[in-house]
């Protein structure tokens, strides 16, 4: 079954990796880019994102 979400890792705002398991990749990318802004984002392919949390 296709996952409805994925993670992205971005370096200075550019996507360098997409996938489902960012744990080890994030550290590797961060090490390779010590002077750059490395960030992680969660993306969904859902049509409507309704987030009410109690």
């Amino acid at each position: 079954m296709e996952a409805k979400f994925e993670y992205e890792i971005l370096v200075d705002g550019k996507i360098v990796w997409k996938g489902l398991n960012p744990e080890k990749v994030f550290d590797e990318i961060k090490k390779k880019n010590p002077e750059k802004k490395v960030g992680i984002a969660w993306r969904t392919k859902e049509d409507i994102l309704v987030c009410v949390v109690f």
């Binding site: 409805k4 398991n21 744990e23 960030g39 969660w42 987030c51 009410v52 949390v53």
Partner: protein, 138 residues
């Protein structure tokens, strides 16, 4: 008064074609890496009591997410329950640093949310005409 603005993000929707969502970038201090982790495009969600992050982001922040207080989070569908663990973490947005309770989910099928408690509530939040979110503070 210091402030930061985020343009709404244009995202795909089969119903609307495109939909714009208010997303912000935050940094959370990782207790295991001893550094700030940049988390991009977190949904600024006034409908969320608490901030929530999916499991793999949780694993970048704390050694073991299950060491936090066990909580069951409910949403718009009352019978659906998300298991999460509460952690007190440091967050910063544009240099403003604060501590807040964060629910680290045991699932990856959960969006990153900046909720109200000790999060959005610390700011004057201006959702401007579906185009821009400005967070300001004293």
């Amino acid at each position: 008064m210091p402030e930061i603005s985020f343009r709404y993000k244009n995202e795909e929707s089969r119903i609307f074609g495109k939909v714009k969502r208010p997303r912000v970038n935050v940094e959370i201090f990782s207790k295991i890496k001893n550094e700030w982790i940049l988390i991009i495009d977190v949904l600024a969600d006034t409908g969320a009591d608490i901030s929530v992050f999916p499991a793999f982001i949780g694993k970048l922040l704390v050694e073991d997410i299950t060491t936090g207080k066990y909580v069951e989070i409910k949403g718009i569908e009352p019978s659906a329950v998300l298991i999460a663990f509460l952690h007190q973490l440091k967050m910063r947005i544009q240099g403003r640093e604060f501590e807040l309770p964060v629910a680290l989910a045991d699932s990856n099928n959960v969006p990153s949310l900046l909720g109200r408690v000790k999060g959005l509530d610390l700011f004057d939040a201006d959702f401007f005409e579906g185009e821009k979110l400005t967070l300001s503070w004293k």
